[in-house]
Symmetry: C3
Subunit: 136 residues, 3 copies
């Protein structure tokens, strides 16, 4: 069986943001067992699962991604949308456009330190649309 909902996040600044509660607020009661699929309908922002406790981790994610996928590389041809745009596409494919999380006993079965991240790679990405689909 399938349960599905689409919704918009509030606008976030460039960087990594924990949105686990935003996701939970937009699905009703979870089934006893299944998988939650979270999908982002954009190509310059992504989703990942990582540490939910220390805010410096979020900071270091932003610094590391900027260091590994640099702006203004001389080989970029897709530059007319701004220097943050092409790196945003690459970074999005590094993390991916969806995460899938097991559901067990009517709850997301995440590890203690796991949270869902919105990875906002644009300076002004606007509101991002997510689709939640539960297979159960």
């Amino acid at each position: 069986m399938i349960q599905q909902v689409e919704f918009s996040l509030p606008q976030y600044s460039r960087g990594f943001h924990i949105i686990t509660n935003k996701v939970l607020d937009n699905i009703g009661e979870l089934p006893e067992k299944g998988v939650l699929h979270v999908f982002i309908k954009h190509t310059s922002a992504g989703l990942t699962i990582n540490e939910n406790a220390d805010p410096t981790v979020l900071h270091d994610f932003e610094s590391s991604f900027n260091h590994i996928v640099k702006e203004n590389e001389p080989f970029y041809k897709h530059t007319y949308e701004g220097s943050d745009d092409m790196p945003a596409h690459i970074k999005s494919s590094f993390v991916g456009s969806s995460v899938s999380i097991p559901i067990t006993n009517y709850r997301l079965n995440l590890g203690t330190w796991q949270g869902i991240y919105l990875c906002e790679f644009r300076n002004n990405g606007g509101r991002r649309n997510l689709i939640l689909t539960i297979n159960y």
Copy 2:
């Protein structure tokens, strides 16, 4: 319920290629609601979802991946399959071997600018086999 089909793509040159229509051509009518799982049965090519409009984005993906995961690194030991092989494995794990896309109202619920990419990381990768599985 499950619907599944396996098929081969035509051979693509090294680089990033939009294959959304190739995928759609190989599945019949989509269900009202569900998730499409696209899986590639290879370890030196991958799948991702990214921008479907400007061909320079595909070019910049190739340049960026080559820049971040270089050929002929002195620390590579797995070299007997050619200088493009080991980087192809690393790149494949960066994008991943599958993408999952929500199905809504009998259609893939992709964002306006999203397309499915085949990421061909070998110089001569040959034909690649995909498996499409729909949970609905």
Copy 3:
């Protein structure tokens, strides 16, 4: 329909390890058709699918990841858990916390050269917990 099991891997050393058989040992008979979702409940280890044949590939994965996501970067703020910790979080998001594999004719429908990797990014990561969920 859903089948689900949670189990702990033995402790692995830092590096990349093929765990396909460990996964298969922990699920019973596979259904005729479906998708296996493998999820890791940790943020400094990940899962990916890659080459299952030549052990030097595993070695080169470790070298490459260490080269691309370096320890002791001057911009890291999250340093109190050791120099291997923050890079482990970044690397985990590069590979991701889950893999999904089609099931066909009661078997995992992997390519000939594909195996499931545990990517252990910590020096002493301890035992890692996985959740296997089958949609069929």
